[in-house]
Amino acid sequence: MGHVSRARSFVADRERTTWHDQALWFVRAKRDAAADLVPDWEALRDEASTIKHEALERLPELWIEFESQATRAGAVVHWARDAREHNTIIARLLAERRITRVVKSKSMLTEECGLNAHLEAEGIEIIDTVLGERIVQLRNEPPSHIVMPAIHLRRAEVGETFARTMGSPPGLDDPDALTAIARQDLRARFLAAQAGITGVNFAVAETGSLVVVSNEGNVDLGTALPRLHIACVGLEKIVPAKRDLAVFLRLLARSATGQAISAYTSHFRGPRRDGSAPPTPATAASPAAELHIVIVDNGRSRLLAEPAFREALACIRCGACLNTCPVYRRSGGHSYAAVIPGPIGSVLEPARDAATHAELPHACTLCGSCSEVCPVKIPLHRQLLAWRGLLAEAGHSPHHRTRRRLALALAAEILARPRLYRLFDGPGRRLARALPGAWIEWLAGAWTRQRALPAIPARSFRAQWREISRERRARPASPAPAEATATAKDTRR
């Protein structure tokens, strides 16, 4: 089952598809309005792209600097080559402390690594705390958007989910009331949690600081209450210096949701002590808080080696390319069957597993809107086009179906030889006119369904041209200049 058939089941619900499309376009419009209020917006995008390029060229030095600074501040730094190592490190940290109750704030990296399933298998309760991600967790679904995890659901479905899992009154579908129910349930879990796991938006090499943003305050509760904070960070998240944060934070929320900044932008350096205040008897009495940072490669160093795709590592996960993508808005995040859906996912996922995700670069109209809104100027649509070529060469392209390949090979032969072309012109034309409309989909794929071929004329262009030329020759030899202009116009029409 591919993207097309998964998208088909999403668009079958026309009302939902329309709502989904419009809701995301509304977020895109908010992004535009927020960007318009920043006079130096384009210069800011250039600056962000520059900083990321330099960072990607200096990754080893920057991470070593980060490690040394973070360690000096009292954090413990771990390195993971892949998802398995990442999950093993976290499971070990929890097991060593006999921790069984964990709260997690949204992190695409832990989704990528399949952390929840790994910890649950070890008997650990892991609770997603962003409302949208909690909703999809209760439904045993993956998030359908990297910033708005439950954007594929309508309020009544959230109400049903809460009624089934939390005993809320059936039929409740008021967002305020549903949010209050989730708040109450999660507040208790925050207070009971023994560890908080978070993602990281930016790791600052200069100071060893981590920056994490949130609107709900879940990142902050999950790190302010439990004794243990585990932060999971992909290799691409490093920025060289403190001053770079200004550039990315001015871009991030505006690109993501149209907010000037998120409600919470938290800066962590070392384990919880808070401020510069000396430890009080109260803080000294409780066991020392811990910060563990897990730095994860999981294919990123490999992607760095690909000149055509390495810029995708500049992504700050704002989701703007999803919101603007005409395919994503209409097909829904789950149609991608990938951790990260939408344009950026369609670039990143084939790098992880080409065979599974070969179809994704084709779930794209090449309209280029994603590249236009990207705050770090990743040339997304060019990368998607590049993937199509690479995947075809590797034999993964959907256009490698035998009939399509034969048809294209035949067309190439005929089109390259004018005599052969003339020979096939008449019979080919008659055949194409006689075949039912569905043949083109059989041959060229599902995207032809909404794209009818223009009616094939009975006579070829050559035949029509010959006729026009004959008519011209039959006219008076030298028309007046004014008439000549009129004739030219007529012909064009």
Binding site: L178, A246, T265, A282
Partner: protein, 218 residues
């Protein structure tokens, strides 16, 4: 076999592109002509409230989120649970004040109001930079139903660029920009204030003169 750290770093050294330093050309954004109007608009866009009050009578002038004031002097209803970074507020009849430093987090869930001292506000986005005095204050800011952050007369910067020039990240273990109350739109994009943290947030700007201070900017 090499350990994970060495093998990740080794892989990066092989695959990274050559370093080419580039020019940085971004200019510092200037302070807008009317910073207070812009700041107020940004705070309100984030679901917060903004208030400019004279320092001498700020307790009475602040439009408190709850029915705190019981008299003309702004004294507080003793039944409310309040965390305050300002001793004058805590001593005015608040049920709980800054003195309850070792209360376990669970007690904080009954907190009605948290009043914090902010360091400065960012005009361009309406955020206020705040460094909690300790773990207790950080939790109080999240667990209280309502949040008030107070900044002083000259504490405005134009943008995050100027903000980070003022912040010494190496000197603190934790600090945050706060902007508006905790919020979510994860159910059908309907905005709900009070997701996990406070349901309301007020940014209070204390000035020596109610109308002065606007020109004092960094």
């Amino acid at each position: 076999m090499r350990n994970a750290r060495d093998s990740v770093l080794a892989a990066l050294r092989v695959t990274r592109p050559a370093f080419a330093p580039r020019d940085r050309r971004l200019a510092m954004p200037a302070m807008p002509d009317d910073p207070i109007a812009v700041l107020r608009a940004r705070v309100e866009a984030a679901g917060g409230r903004f208030q400019q009050v004279p320092r001498s009578e700020w307790l009475a002038q602040v439009d408190w989120p709850l029915e705190l004031a019981t008299g003309a002097d702004g004294s507080l209803a003793p039944t409310l649970s309040v965390y305050s970074a300002f001793p004058e507020l805590a001593s005015r009849g608040a049920g709980r004040g800054a003195g309850c430093g070792d209360a376990p987090p669970r007690e904080l869930t009954q907190l009605d109001l948290c009043v914090l001292r902010g360091e400065f506000a960012v005009v361009e986005n309406g955020a206020v930079w705040q460094v909690p005095l300790g773990p207790f204050e950080r939790r109080a800011a999240l667990l209280a139903e309502h949040l008030v952050v107070v900044i002083e007369g000259d504490a405005l910067v134009a943008s995050l660029h100027q903000a980070y020039e003022r912040i010494d990240l190496a000197a603190i273990s934790f600090g945050w920009f706060l902007c508006g109350p905790s919020k979510t739109a994860d159910i059908e994009q309907a905005l709900v204030l009070g997701a996990h943290g406070p349901r309301s947030m007020r940014l209070v700007w204390r000035c020596d003169e109610p109308s002065a201070g606007a020109a004092q900017t960094t």
